[in-house]
Amino acid sequence: MRAANRFFSGGGIVGTMLVAGVAIAALLAPVVAPGDPLALIGRPLIEPFTDWRFPLGTDRLGRDVLAELLHGARATLIVGGAAMLATLIVGIVIGTLAGFIGGTVDEALMRLADAFQSVPTFILALAFVSIAGPSLTSVVIAVSLGAWTAPARVLRAEILSLRRREFVDAYRVLGMAPLHIAFREVLPNALPPVITLAAVIVANAILVEAALSFLGLGNPNSVTWGAMIAEGRAVFRSAPFLSAIPGVAIVVTVLGVNLLGDAANDAINARQAQV
């Protein structure tokens, strides 16, 4: 089967639709809900679907839940995307160097990875944000700190096996610089399994960000879904929708990203089977 066909089958379509939906919500946030989503603009605790001005109701302080949800989608996607980029860059550089250079460099980098992996990811993130203070950058760094080891290890293993192929020797005999061989010629051959990891990283980043925000360690200047859940917690018995709506949004996003990742994985496998 063609790689493209493999991608757009079942889960791939659903995943694409879910992620596209969240992305459109994030893009349309300033249009549908202009102004500051944290502004107090209505009576507090309006139930959803009862007032047409606030379709999803208002929270304890009279903020529009729909506006918060749409702007929260932005924050979520930005954190997920930025954390994925940062994680992949660090993981790819460290994995490639460890696999290609080998020896002491490999040992040192892999022991470093062991050290990071021996601390639970979330504790690491929590510790970092509580020291560095909550901000978008610190949340992204906090997520990447725990996540970079996965792509680094996968990539190192791939590079180790590719390094034995004769084409690497052929490039060396041609006089090509080792770093050029490693990053321009060998690395692209090793990327497919790492690309499928990207989805897992995004999903994980969204969850960690939500958890940090829930604990009040998210970016204080933007609305986030985790903070919305925390906010609704106080009135959970009388107004459960305040926590449930952002909770469903997180589930849908993470599900969509994971489905997309699985589909990408299948498509890449199908493509490699052809080659």
């Binding site: 084409f167 020797d169 052929a170 005999v173 006089g175 010629e185 692209p188 080659v275």
Partner: protein, 525 residues
């Protein structure tokens, strides 16, 4: 007249992948009597392996359509692969299980197919390992596949194939992965085993010469069809079909006079190695792969280096092109001390000293087009201005006999011969003076091999290049070399002009290599 063992009628095998379909086998018919011996001879893509897989019932279930009939009249038509048909494949390493001892693997077959207890089966395994000629078979039974040599592994694979007492043995290129000496031993062993047990044999091979002496009948295949089926001697002495003649003409005769008369070459040597040494591992496990090698290569000559696997040929090649650092010794190239070169100076020298690798596919980056592969050396060495690079790439493709249309192809879209031509073109791109050729034709079909050898010869004549040509195949060396060095255990055991080496070999290994080479005609003794 007894019933035939096997009757194949109008066999066809079609592989389907999406809208594409490949007719690998097309209307193949033959019969085999009990104890009969047949060679299916063909090049890659001829469908010979698909026939073997169909006979053994090993074709994949999905995406394959089989037509025609395969019947076993004397076996009652309930045939079981492994019990009634034993199969030996080309690569003994990948057909053995790396986590079981070889004794366990042989015994397992007897347990599965003969219903023996493990104790009985272990005894039988010991006998089988002895029959396939493993030294100290009872100690060997406890060894793991990676502890054995290639030839020993192939013997174990043979013992497994024979463990259930099959009526037919299918051997698919059983000696292709082995060096000449081991190859001759395995051929002798197959012959003896088949004779002793009245075992029928189907030998799948690309090598007509190998088939001679082992089988009665030769069946030549080309693109899925049978070209001709004849008694093997008739096939070799008076081939009727043009394709068989092409195969025969491409075969190298180890008894022909050496292709080249040694020339008197003036001047200082282009490459001079002295006391070169390199080992791997430490302590008791240390292996000295290259042990004090002295050699010279003159300008314009081809120095052939021949030896069995593990003799250190490839390590020697890698030392010369500085992929490995020697522990001791000197490499002098055009009068310069090569080992003293670092950085930019080394890069400059590298342009003049290139290598062509053994596996043409593995030596090409799978994600680079031919154009990019050939532009790399031009860019690195900067001797061609960027605007002229496209023309230079086209020129290189012409030089190695490839169409410029191939410039946008990826390596997996090329045939084996085209890939090796790209490898040669890439090595030529930096305008070298010396090419180190490490088994450049050993993975190619015979007809392609002849073309590549011709190409290398033309290039040498036109450009005045020197070659250091490494091969395990003495017939190839005879066809290309001016002078020959015979290597064993990391040392040069004999060195001389091709004429002297082939007419008056003095070292026992040289004589053994020459004697073991497969021959088209029986050697006059």
């Amino acid at each position: 007249m007894t019933a035939p063992l096997l009757t194949v009628e109008n066999l066809s095998v079609v592989f389907r992948q999406g809208p594409k379909q490949v007719r690998a086998v097309d209307g193949v018919s033959f019969t085999l009597r009990p104890g009969g011996r047949l060679a299916i001879v063909g090049e890659s893509g001829s469908g010979k392996t698909s026939v073997a897989l169909a006979l053994a019932g090993l074709l994949p279930r999905r995406g394959v359509e089989r037509g025609g009939s395969i019947r076993w009249p004397s076996l009652g038509n309930s045939v079981c692969a492994g019990r009634d048909v034993g199969v030996v494949f080309q690569d003994p390493m990948s057909s053995l299980n790396p986590v079981l001892t070889v004794g366990e693997q042989v015994a397992e077959v007897a347990v599965t197919h003969l219903g023996l207890s493990w104790d009985e089966a272990s005894l039988r395994a010991g006998e089988l390992l002895e029959r396939v000629g493993l030294p100290q078979p009872h100690d060997m039974a406890d060894a793991y596949p990676h502890q054995l040599s290639g030839g020993q592994r192939q013997r174990v694979a043979l013992a497994m194939a024979l463990a259930a007492g099959p009526k037919l043995l299918i051997a698919d290129e059983p000696t292709t992965a082995l060096d000449t000496l081991t190859q001759a031993q395995i051929v002798k062993l197959l012959d003896r085993l088949a004779r002793d047990t009245r075992l029928a044999l189907i030998l799948i091979t690309h090598d007509l010469v190998l088939a001679r002496g082992m089988v009665e009948t030769g069946m030549v295949m080309n693109s899925g069809r049978v070209v001709e089926t004849e008694p093997i001697d008739a096939l070799l002495s008076s081939p009727r079909h043009a394709y068989t003649r092409v195969l025969l003409e491409a075969t190298l005769d180890p008894d022909a006079p050496p292709a080249r008369k040694a020339k008197k070459l003036p001047g200082p040597p282009l490459l001079r190695l002295s006391g070169l040494r390199k080992g791997f591992g430490r302590g008791v496990r240390r292996v000295t792969a290259v042990d004090g090698v002295d050699l010279t290569v003159m300008k314009g000559e081809t120095l052939g280096v021949v030896g069995g696997s593990g003799s250190g040929k490839t390590t020697l090649a890698r030392l010369i092109v500085r992929l490995l650092e020697p522990e001791a010794g000197e490499i002098e190239f055009t009068g310069l001390d090569l080992l003293a070169h670092r950085g930019a100076a080394l890069r400059q020298t590298r342009a003049r000293l290139q290598m062509v690798f053994q596996d043409p596919l593995s030596a090409l980056n799978p994600l680079a087009t031919v154009r990019r592969l050939l532009s790399d050396p031009l860019r690195i060495h900067g001797h061609v201005a960027p605007v002229d690079r496209e023309a230079a790439v086209i020129g290189l493709l012409h030089r190695v006999g490839l169409s410029p249309d191939l410039a946008d192809r990826y390596p997996h879209e090329l045939s084996g011969g085209q890939r090796q031509r790209v490898n040669i073109a890439r090595a030529l791109a930096s305008r070298p003076e010396l090419l180190v050729l490490d088994e450049p034709v050993s993975s190619l079909d015979v007809s392609i091999r002849a073309q590549i050898l011709k190409l290398l010869d033309d290039i040498q004549r036109d450009l005045g290049l020197s070659y250091l040509f490494i091969s395990h195949d003495i017939s190839v060396i005879r066809a290309v070399a001016d002078r020959v060095a015979v290597m064993d255990n990391g040392r040069i055991v004999e060195l001389g002009t091709a004429d002297a080496i082939f007419t008056r070999p003095s070292h026992p290994l040289t004589r053994a290599l020459i004697d073991a080479a497969p021959r088209l005609h029986r050697k006059a003794l």
